[in-house]
Symmetry: C2
Subunit: 199 residues, 2 copies
């Protein structure tokens, strides 16, 4: 069933493989590419190959980097005594946007998930333990997502880091800023109550 020229069909197929892109969307994106200038299409193609070729993991924190240690690990202004553990590089970006945290990170690249056959060995856990074992770290902040798998991973790591004289903490739970009490779920409200503080 070839209704479009073969090179266009191939491009539609490529777009259709992307997550969250269905057949109709893939078609729309492919037609958009046909409307680009030659140079724009080339830049798009180059960006794909270039990102894939040059983006690697930071040898220290496993965050994404354009080569060598990432900009956060390389910065002299970051506190090397604190490590914030996150599941994904996008979580680093979210934390950085908050402009509050001045320590370093460690990116697990996933969470422990027996359902998806992801065990501790599939994640960047050994590299975290190695960092903590070097003795410079004083606090490890668990910032995995507050869902079952994120919780379980944080608990697992906390136990794993117990032998080292290091403080292991967890991001606070509670009502999101700007949120409404009436829309908060029970579990969040319970956690918010548990974590209440003196005014």
């Amino acid at each position: 069933m070839e209704y479009f020229p073969a090179p266009l069909e191939r491009l539609v197929e490529q777009f259709a493989r992307l997550p969250g892109i269905g057949g109709k969307s893939a078609q729309r994106l492919a037609f958009y590419v046909l409307g680009l200038t030659d140079q724009e299409a080339q830049e798009f193609a180059d960006a794909i190959v270039e990102a894939k070729r040059t983006v690697t993991r930071c040898p220290v924190c496993q965050n994404l980097t354009g080569g060598g240690p990432c900009s956060i690990c390389a910065s002299p202004r970051r506190d090397p005594a604190v490590i914030c553990v996150v599941a994904d590089p996008r979580d680093v970006a979210a934390m950085e946007r908050a402009r509050e945290y001045t320590g370093l990170y460690h990116v697990l690249h996933g969470v422990i998930s027996p359902m998806n056959h992801i065990g501790p060995d599939d994640l960047e856990i050994k590299s975290l333990v190695d960092r903590v074992a070097q003795g410079e770290v004083q606090e490890v902040i668990m910032a995995t997502n507050p869902d079952t798998e994120g919780e379980a991973t944080a608990m697992y790591l906390a136990r794993l880091l117990k032998p080292f004289s290091v403080r292991v903490t967890r991001l606070a739970y509670g009502i999101p800023v700007g949120g409404h009490l009436e829309f908060a779920d029970d579990a969040t409200l319970m956690r918010a109550l548990e974590g209440r503080r003196e005014l």
Copy 2:
């Protein structure tokens, strides 16, 4: 605010330019590319450049082609006496999927739209008139969308083709097959009533 390595940021930007892709989606797509193999990324990039480079318009019907006349215009099994006029190459694909039509096509590449500053000269209208003027065509079927602009474009073309001894027709309006009367809008119901036929 660079939270990701520069090559990754550039790829996110490229994806974010695509129609219907917001910032979060662009990030997700860029991360998906990082997860591809080198070869898969290269194939994706090649598909973009290749589609842009090789896909042109058929010199006869202006549909998209990989070079030369399109497969429909080149087929000896298609009836050259009938031309179906559509706004977009995707409409050709939709008509072909129905496997009912055996004539040729003419792709306008848009509809007349004063609001968007698209006039007759911006569309493939002269090439249509030239085809009809050659005398072989006996019927021109208007298959623009049944909206205001599609209607206006069809009416404009019908008037333009009047001097030639050619039948100009329009796709039938009515209740979509498998549709429900209760969900049909008033305009469609009115048209369905107008176009009622003997059983």
